[in-house]
Structures are given as structure tokens and as C-alpha cells.
Symmetry: C2
Subunit: 352 residues, 2 copies
DNA sequence: AGCGCTTTCGTAAGCGCTTTCGGTTACTGT
DNA sequence: ACAGTAACCGAAAGCGCTTACGAAAGCGCT
């Protein structure tokens, strides 16, 4: 045991090295050591470099808790998602983690499980944890009271230097990166209409989600532009998940057996739709065209490869965090992410 | 602004309420308040309940940094993964996050990007962050020096109360939850052999990963049991990703056009293989059977639905964290996760 | 009544860091 | 040579909490 100098030091009663240990080793005060390591002005470059060298050699890593308790600012950020297993959030998380790693920030990820109460609680915890920034990717407030409470908390958080960015919704008066859902919705709908489909069904998530509302609005526009009434189009609401897609597909097949295309409002639901169609022996795109939205990683590898709307989710995650990290601006910034139609093999001209 | 009482209080110069504010409001000392909130002995239940009530009403949330700086113990845990976008890690993360939420712990997720240096650094950061437990799901140490360094750090971390659990490898002498890769490998291989396949190719990740090695060993056992030589079986190593699967498939198709089954060592690679076969117009399972490993969420929704080995990844994530949270035991605990063969539509009796 | 004991609560000492403020030194100008 | 300035560094005061430790109060006992 004593042949291991580091283990020995640590065994002296402390789990890790303290700044004081580094300062002593370098022959300076802890104030100087602190300034050297955090690159604050007031130390000659010569001394600072020496201290940093000593710290590096000793394997010193600052205690974040002490750091943020003393300094206020924190080297960690929070990410709120509905469910990390949902590929939409997975990719966003990937982007956020990537930027986090690059900037030397630790990322705390919170599940809300699509429960507004949980969401509020998670946001509060994040604030209490004094994270430097909060990225809210999954926000599902429906009750105005909850939303107001969150808004108030975030406002006071921001007032004290906290940064907030929201992805996909613009209801918390924070910086936001917003996919151009309207254009995307218009594009898929138009694609289907251009192919000649007239009996189209829409598989949607809950309309209370702005994402759903925007995509639907785009679709409606496309119908209007084509001079086709949208009122008769069946829009089935179901959970924004694969299972929800299955349920919706069953429902459509039962109630509207004559539809020739199913337009799902996200890929996860589209995958559910495809699996139901496969089980029923309904050929895609032969007898039924199917479209998704998001272009999750597997979309291209499905059979048939899914026609969908590409959303740069990893990018959006990166952008959101970067935006939050920037100097705060007086009024919320907006950044729109392009939605591009990606035509693959799940759509075709309708049969006869 | 003054009509918002909470905003007003907060605006007094502090981002959030302090324990002292609660103590004053409840008419007790901060020591008593602390004890009441953390449910430490030494306070009458009556007083404690009152303090908790006050705190709840005020919306007080303790500052974790102060908490863990003072108390040592921390209410957060770390999770190390290669890449959150990889579905294997996504599901594990989902399990860890679920337990975290249930236990009121915040979870810090770190990407290693499959880089051992990054991994080491991330582990060190987590230790410096004083997380209460570390779950290492993606460990890719190959250089013994790196591994030893990590082991030393983790050992000293544990000596001071830190908890460590590893998923899928058992090289850091920590608690581990280990999928029964051997049995799983044996099962898929046997399935293919039972169907009558004799010209089988294996699509593997890097052999240096114990996961890969174990699964291969199981496969070899199945061949041995069937009295079929394994030496001639082509084993193509490629990155453990969808793209790797594609590369491997191309290679196999070029070098061994006569194989009737491709056994991929994870689903991601299998998905890549399937997409190559689809592009080439090779029918699955008609002309080629394909198997995966892991049973990621989409496996069942692929076309054809993938025959694979189910690994309870969400469960494994939950188990790992729960295990780490338990009282530490003298010697590392092991928990094996069952691997069940799931036969679906991507395998069949070979043609002719 | 006085003694020890237990229970309940408050006082105060840190946890490891950042940062203000004051002191020291080195340098300029006269 | 000396005042004035700037650059650098150290002492010490917290950040908000936990947790010894000690004080006070209530209890049964002699």
C-alpha cells in the first residue's frame, strides 16, 4: 500500500486532493492556486503555468460542489426530456452531451415521463442544483397553472444568471430552437397529395403539444393549397409513441378501410403503423403509403425505408445548449431548424 | 412584480431560499431545520413535521452543493456510456434514470465516445463531482495502463464511500451486472444450426470487448456441441454500430457469397446487415437468415422482425444502480441477466 | 430536593473553494 | 533618492449546508 504514493496520500483521510494540497506543492497560496487554475487575472503567466503543471501532475480535479458554492457559477447543465428511450430525445441528448463534453460541462439528464408534475419538480431540482443552464427538450405542460409556475421559477432562475433554452416549444419565453414544423407538415402532405392520394388519414400525438399543432397546421395548408377539403380527413390522436401508432393504425383500418395513405406525425408512430400493416398483410407502399416525421436514425434502415421529414435533432441539441451558454439577450432568441422532406420507399402512387 | 410574492422574496438578492429562511419562518434553528428535512434523529416528530410543512409551502429546495460539501454524501449519481445514441446504452440509461427519479437522485450522464482517455477523464470528473455512485455501462479500456489507472481511482473512490457498478464487463473489480452472453451466443448459434444452416458468417465487434468475446465463445460452444468445425466460420470484425454492420455485410457478401445465415453480435449491426441485403435484393429470410443480439426496442418492428437474443437492458440499468446504492459488500457482487432467444421472422430453413 | 439520565434543541465549526481587500514588491518618473 | 503607480500575491471572509458538542429541560429515582 505504501508503494503507491497517490493511494497513500489519499488514504490520509480525504477522498481526493484539495486545492490546498496543490498550493502547498507549488509553494503558493490557495488564492493564487485558485486563480491559476481558473485562469483568472492577477497571476503572472509564469506562476500560473507552474501551478497548472503541478496540479496536472498530481491529478488534481477541483471539487465542483465547493466551486459552485463559492463561486456561484456552475460547470454543469441540465437537460429535461420526456423519456430518454424515445429516439427523438435520444438524439437531442446526444447533441447536448457532445457540446457538454466539448465545453467541459457535466450534463444532468432528467426524465419527466411526460408528467407535468414531474417536469416541474425536475426543473426545480435543476435550479436547486445550481446548474449553469437548463435545456428543456420535453415540455408537456397543459395546465396553465403548472406552466405559469414553471415560468415563474425559470424567470427567477434567469434573473440570477441561469440560462434557459427550450427545444420545440416556445411557451416559456426562453431562447428556443424550433423545428419548422409547419413547412415540414406542408411538405409531407403535399408529397402525398402530389402522388395522387386523396383518402389520407393522419396519426397524431396529443393536439395540446405545439409540435403536433404546428405539423397539423402545415398539413392543413397543403390541403388548402391543393383545393382539397381537410375537414373530412380523419385525425386520430394517440400517445406520441410506437404503441400509440399501433393503436391509431388499428383504429383507422377499422373506421376508414378505404384510406390509401397514413401520415404519422412522428417516426415512432409511423413504425408502429408499419408493424400493424405488416401484421395485416397490407403492402407498403403498394396498398398503403406511410410517412413519418423526424427522420430518426433507424428510419432509413426500416423496410420499407421510411419517407419522412428530416429534423436535425442532434444539431438542435447542440444549438440549444450553445445558445443557452451565450450571453443572455434581452428578448428570447429564436432559431429555426429546417425540416426537409426525405422521400424513400414507403410512399408511392395509390393503387388504381 | 410586487404582486408576485415569491418573485419578490427571491429578488431580495438570492436566487433561492436558504435553509435559514425556512428555519426563521418555522421559528427553529437551522440545525433543527436541517435535521427535520433530512429526517435525522434528534428532533421530535411534531417539530419536524411542522418544519417540513413550512419548507413545502415556501417551495424550498436544498442547495445540493452546500449539502454535499458539508455532508459528504451526495444525491447524484453518474452514468458512463459510450454514446447515448446507441440503443443499447439508451435503454440502459432509461433504466438508470428511472431508478434515479424514483430515489430522488439526479443522474449525470457522460459520453466517452468509445475513447479510453475520455472514459478515464469522465470517471475522474464524476469522482471529483462527488457523485454517490457511478454506473459504468460503456467501458472500453484496452491499454492495461489505462485500466489500472481507472481501477486505482475507483478503488480510492470506494474506500471513501463511493459505490461503483459495472454493466457488461467484470474487469474493474466492482459490482457488476453481467448478461449471460455465453448462453445467449450459444442459443442463437444453435438456433441457426438447428434450422440446418451450415455456411454461417459472424458479424462481430472488436474482440477486445469482453461482450464480443463471450458471445463468440458461446457460438463456438454451439458449433462444438453440434460437431461442426468452427474454424472455417468467417468472423468479420467491425465497429459495433449500424455502419459497422453494413461494412461487414459487404465484406461477407464479397468474400463468402455462399453463406446462408449471418449472425450479428448486436442488433445495431444486424440492422445494418439487413439494409445491405435489402439493397442487394437478397430476400430475408428466404435466401439469407439474419440474427441480432440485444433485442433493442425497434427489433420487433423491423421488416422482417428480427430474430435476436433478448437482453433486459432497462432492467440491467435499474439493477446496476440499485446494486450500487446498496450497502457495499466486501467482495464484488455479481448479478447475471438472462439472455433469451427470441425467434421472429428473420430466420428460416436455408434454401434448397 | 437533588442526582443522573435521556431527549430535544441551539451554537459553532467546518466542508473546499472563490473573491475581496489589503499588503508587498518592482517599476516608472522626477 | 523618493513618491506614485501598477502588478502580483496572501489572508480571510464567506457560499449554504451538516454535524459534533454543549445546554436546557423533562423524567424517574434515591
Amino acid at each position: 500500500m505504501s508503494e503507491d504514493p497517490e493511494g497513500d496520500t489519499l488514504a490520509k483521510g480525504r477522498p481526493t486532493l484539495r486545492l490546498q494540497d496543490v498550493a502547498e506543492a507549488a509553494g503558493v497560496s490557495i488564492a493564487t492556486a485558485s486563480r491559476s487554475l481558473s485562469r483568472t487575472a492577477g497571476v503572472s503567466e509564469e506562476v500560473a503555468e507552474r501551478v497548472r503543471g503541478v496540479a496536472r501532475d498530481m491529478g488534481y480535479v477541483a471539487n465542483v460542489h465547493a466551486r459552485s458554492l463559492a463561486g456561484g457559477a456552475s460547470r454543469s447543465v441540465g437537460l429535461v426530456v420526456h423519456e430518454i428511450g424515445d429516439p427523438y430525445f435520444t438524439e437531442i441528448a446526444s447533441g447536448v452531451l457532445r457540446v457538454g463534453a466539448r465545453e467541459g460541462l457535466t450534463v444532468q439528464i432528467c426524465h419527466t415521463g411526460r408528467d407535468p408534475q414531474q417536469e416541474l419538480e425536475q426543473i426545480r431540482t435543476l435550479i436547486a442544483n445550481r446548474v449553469g443552464a437548463i435545456v428543456i427538450a420535453g415540455s408537456g405542460f397543459v395546465d396553465p397553472a403548472d406552466q405559469a409556475a414553471a415560468k415563474a421559477d425559470l424567470a427567477s432562475y434567469r434573473r440570477f444568471g441561469g440560462r434557459v433554452a427550450v427545444i420545440g416549444r416556445h411557451h416559456l419565453s426562453a431562447d428556443a430552437v424550433l423545428p419548422d414544423n409547419l413547412t415540414g407538415g406542408r411538405a409531407v402532405a403535399r408529397h402525398l397529395l402530389d402522388l395522387g392520394h386523396r383518402r389520407i388519414a393522419v396519426v397524431a400525438g396529443m393536439r395540446s403539444l405545439t409540435t403536433v399543432a404546428d405539423r397539423l397546421a402545415g398539413i392543413e395548408e397543403a390541403f388548402a393549397a391543393a383545393g382539397i377539403p381537410f375537414a373530412d380527413v380523419p385525425v386520430v390522436e394517440a400517445p406520441f409513441t410506437r404503441l400509440g401508432g399501433k393503436q391509431a393504425a388499428e383504429e383507422i383500418l377499422a373506421a376508414h378501410p378505404d384510406v390509401t395513405a397514413i401520415l404519422a406525425l412522428n417516426d415512432d408512430m409511423a413504425i408502429g403503423v408499419l408493424s400493424v400493416l405488416r401484421d395485416r398483410g397490407i403492402a407498403v407502399p403498394g396498398r398503403m403509403s406511410v410517412t413519418g416525421f423526424d427522420d430518426v436514425a433507424v428510419a432509413v434502415d426500416l423496410a420499407p425505408a421510411l419517407t419522412t421529414v428530416r429534423l436535425p435533432m442532434v444539431d438542435m441539441g447542440e444549438q440549444a445548449l450553445l445558445m443557452a451558454l451565450k450571453e443572455p439577450s434581452a428578448r428570447p432568441r429564436r432559431r429555426t431548424a429546417e425540416c426537409d422532406l426525405v422521400v424513400r420507399d414507403s410512399t408511392a402512387v395509390p393503387e388504381s
